[in-house]
Symmetry: C2
């Protein structure tokens, strides 16, 4: 008897290929156990997140199903520009869709070019294979125009699932921000259509408060893991899992669990307890997001004498660095204006120019006193890839050691990446010793 | 003594690397002679275009220099969305920049990723090497946001040359068109700043009339070469050269020379004179542009039993298919509105959705009764590459033979492409014979 048998009726209702999903889950759980549970001295409070990973396609999907039965919107996304605050305001769920596995890519390549970003191909393959409960549960997928491979893939994905596309501008001047605000307002109206009524200011404000609190807790984790010098109370790998799950879990419960973890990390810092040896090379990752279960680079770095103390990435710092400022806000119009202020500060490489990102990276390095940065580009992501030249120039000027890695989800280049990471860490150590 | 000695002072003034340019020109002229002058039965009127190719970096650059000395704007571009009508209205020159050669790519790869479009890398390399008179002459380069690799490259190119960026939206709804119109108006104001005065309606109208006439002549060539069944009075290769030079030459003179060529082609059609044997497989090329001297695919097809009767491409049909409708227009505001109507009809894959393109392709096929289509994607061009799946589906539905080719500027894949093109043509013949 399958351990998932209780979920078969739900999976069937969602038109999930249950046999395939069950096979995939076995592999995903084993990989999680191999990579995460084998780490020494893990914080006890990681148990919540391990369990959440275990319930990813079962318990959490049942929760979403319950929301749906109550008429709440379920919105799947691939980008931090889709206003989760508004979905939360409506009592619904806004979540990141499955997109981090190499296993679904061959299926996607029946409809998509091979030489586009693995995240997009993986997500498209999950839909074609019907093995992601999040995709299957979504009332609609909210795509956007932040990258051209995504933008064009929505046209094909729309043949398989309802897709809406938010037009994110490519500049941030006044007229672009005006267009963008109109897009956000249309999104809000769309959510109101799903729930069948206008949302009050109090509801909107509550939605923002919930997500602000989540971001605040993520910033707390960020400071605890990477701003106490040699004392690093949690691995980069564990921190990454927490951030990945921040796009999946119910936000209030998640925030509480994360604050519990942070309390434990504070105790560890007070007790000078680090999960890394003194002198471990402290690195920051810059660039494109790591969708679960894309743990390749973290595993490589942290088994090569390095520790990852921050991801300057959309699954990471770029997501939680800014809040919506609620001070003095009394109307929905003002609230939307404040949301736009926050969006304007997101320094995605899709914008031209994007100089603020470089200033921010230098500042982040100084705050964390990192030993170097690894610029990570998902293969064929032109925006972050071209921008890496400007970042590399700036790092050189600041004297910050810099390594660029471009990779897809295949395990095939792991050996080559490990060699490069080891040499990078060795060069930093030699320099430090000199 | 160098044959280019007379131009050395001009080249020096433009900060051109004269020795490098002279070497490059030798190769470019030889390649032109080998590919073009060896064709049998060429129209006599091609002489004008052969001469223009010969004067590309000499006589034409001297003409631009004269314009500049008269205070006229010189604007280099990479996209048909930059309003050449407005530059023409100001008496200036708007031209496509050198971007079709593999020779400049290694230099560009010092600053750009290897896995982006060869056109962008080639253009960037021409600037770094200082071997393109057009780039060097430009008051400014007007980039745009139609593709992300270009969009981000402008940030790096701007370190070497003045660059402005026009924000082209990614959708065509009302609010996107409003943003776009404001961008076009800003461009027009910028041109007026360069010439130091407002341009009158009559000047603007004249600019549009000149470019409309050029487009009309290009449509005439298009109909003559490909809409008379087995009678094809000019090769696809020669037609391509004409279209490539349409972005370089003085437009009034060019239009006259092209109409002279078309007169000759009409005579040939009346005399039932074709440059291809009866039964030659008639093909249309869809997709990304061929910047001179990128003649690889045309050479391969036309030496493999095929004839190219149309390029559904920005250097080609997408550029000249629509005019600005001047009927009843009496003010600059109305004129700009009409320009926007024309832009809205351009079916670049940068837009989502872009369904009109597929309907158009089917219509183009029917008008020309082609035997099949080759979908050409410049390597790593995500927008056209992803969209190719939708086009392939539509072609299958219509029963139109379809071949997809993705290639860069390197000569290395020529053999492999030839094998695929030959097999494609053979399969069409077998089907036709059956």
């Amino acid at each position: 008897m399958s351990q998932y048998e209780a979920y078969y009726p739900l999976w069937e209702k969602l038109n999930i290929d249950a046999a395939k999903l069950e096979g995939a889950l076995g592999a995903a759980q084993k990989r999680h156990a191999d990579l995460f549970l084998t780490q020494a001295d893990r914080p006890k409070a990681m148990g919540y997140f391990d369990d959440l990973w275990g319930n990813l396609q079962t318990g959490r999907i049942a929760e979403l199903d319950k929301l749906k039965s109550e008429g709440k919107p379920l919105v799947g996304t691939f980008c931090i520009f889709v206003p989760e605050e508004s979905v939360t305001a409506a009592g619904g769920a806004c979540y990141g869709l499955c997109s981090g596995s190499p296993a679904s890519i061959p299926e996607a390549e029946k409809e998509l070019p091979r030489n586009i970003c693995p995240l997009i191909k993986s997500a498209h393959g999950f839909k074609l294979l019907r093995v992601c409960g999040y995709t299957q549960s979504s009332d609609f997928i909210y795509g956007e125009t932040t990258c051209e491979a995504k933008k064009k893939t929505w046209e094909i994905l729309a043949k398989h699932h309802p897709v809406h596309v938010m037009h994110i501008p490519q500049k941030k001047d006044e007229k672009s921000m005006r267009l963008w605000r109109e897009e956000v307002e249309e999104f809000q109206e769309h959510i109101e259509e799903v729930v069948g009524r206008k949302l009050s200011f109090e509801e909107h404000k509550k939605g923002v408060e919930i997500i602000n609190a989540k971001r605040k807790a993520l910033r707390r984790l960020d400071a605890l893991r990477g701003m106490h010098g040699d004392i690093m109370p949690i691995s980069g790998l564990d921190s990454l899992l927490v951030m990945q799950l921040s796009f999946i879990d119910e936000p209030v419960r998640f925030t509480e669990a994360l604050n519990t973890l942070c309390d434990e990390l504070e105790e560890r810092i007070n007790a000078q307890k680090s999960v890394f040896e003194k002198g471990t090379t402290r690195l920051m990752i810059l660039g494109t997001p790591f969708a679960a279960p894309n743990w390749k680079l973290h595993k490589i770095v942290e088994s090569s004498g390095g520790a990852i103390v921050n991801e300057e990435s959309c699954i990471g710092h770029r997501y939680f660095k800014d809040d919506v400022n609620l001070e003095g806000v009394t109307t929905n119009e003002e609230l939307t204006a404040r949301m736009m202020e926050r969006y304007k500060n997101i320094d995605c490489a899709c914008f031209t120019p994007n100089e603020a990102r470089i200033e921010k990276i230098v500042k982040m390095h100084k705050e964390r006193q990192t030993d170097g940065v690894i610029y990570y580009t998902l293969s064929f992501c032109h925006t972050y890839n071209v921008e890496s030249h400007l970042v590399a120039e700036a790092m050189k000027k600041e004297g910050i050691p810099f390594l660029a890695i471009e990779s897809d989800y295949s395990p095939e280049d792991a050996g080559q990446i490990k060699t490069r990471v080891e040499a990078f860490i060795e060069s930093i150590r030699l320099k430090r010793g000199a």
